[in-house]
Amino acid sequence: MASETIRALLEQAFPNASDVQVVDRTGGGDHFHVTVVSSDFVGLPLIDQHRRVNEALAAPLADGTIHELRITTKGAV
């Protein structure tokens, strides 16, 4: 359930993404590893790429839906 919400938020925030993956790492529904591949990240420092992902997921991060978040970003045209 949370995985789908997270995926929707990421797809909304990164309409140019060529790949969005959300993995529930523990099966418990609150430890996630998200991967976003998008042209938006080209030329952007890693910290800013991760900031963009954190911003997209600000609501579930703030309300505790996401207890732990791993982020992988790649810039791709």
């Binding site: 890693l46 910290i47 991760h50 900031r51 954190n54 600000a58 991060l61 703030a62 732990e68 978040l69 791993r70 982020i71 992988t72």
Partner: protein, 125 residues
């Protein structure tokens, strides 16, 4: 002169970030790490030759709130080099693997730096 104890939590956090070369805000301490991601960041820093000043955020939830308000970064751990946010565990691991973290530390602190690990406790009122 004001002592640490006279200062607000936010001021103390800011002070540590600005005065210590490398700060790791983590869950637990380097001697007793309480979270896998804090452990990943700690290892990445250590492998890159960083002197580490660790701050445990677990003693009080306000530490994390104040820190995130200051940094704009929502999760723990958080790593700062010379006052600048480098990122969390994923970024530290990635930058350590590519050698960029060592390069960044060499540039900021010099290549002949001493590698020490210490822990700073914040004063909670």
């Amino acid at each position: 002169m004001s002592t640490l104890a006279d200062r607000t939590l936010g001021e103390q956090i800011k002070d540590v970030i600005e005065s210590e070369p490398v700060v790791l805000f983590m869950k637990g301490t380097p001697q007793m790490v309480m979270c896998g991601n804090s452990d990943r960041a700690l290892r990445a820093l250590w492998q890159s030759g960083a002197p580490i000043t660790a701050v445990d955020i677990l003693p009080d939830p306000r530490i994390r709130q104040e820190l995130s308000a200051l940094s704009g970064w929502p999760t723990i751990p958080q790593v700062f080099v010379k006052g600048e946010l480098v990122g969390g565990a994923d970024i530290c691991e990635e930058l350590a693997a590519s050698g960029e973290l060592r390069g960044k530390l060499d540039e900021a602190l010099g290549a002949d730096r001493e590698q020490t690990v210490k822990t700073v406790a914040l004063t909670l009122s």
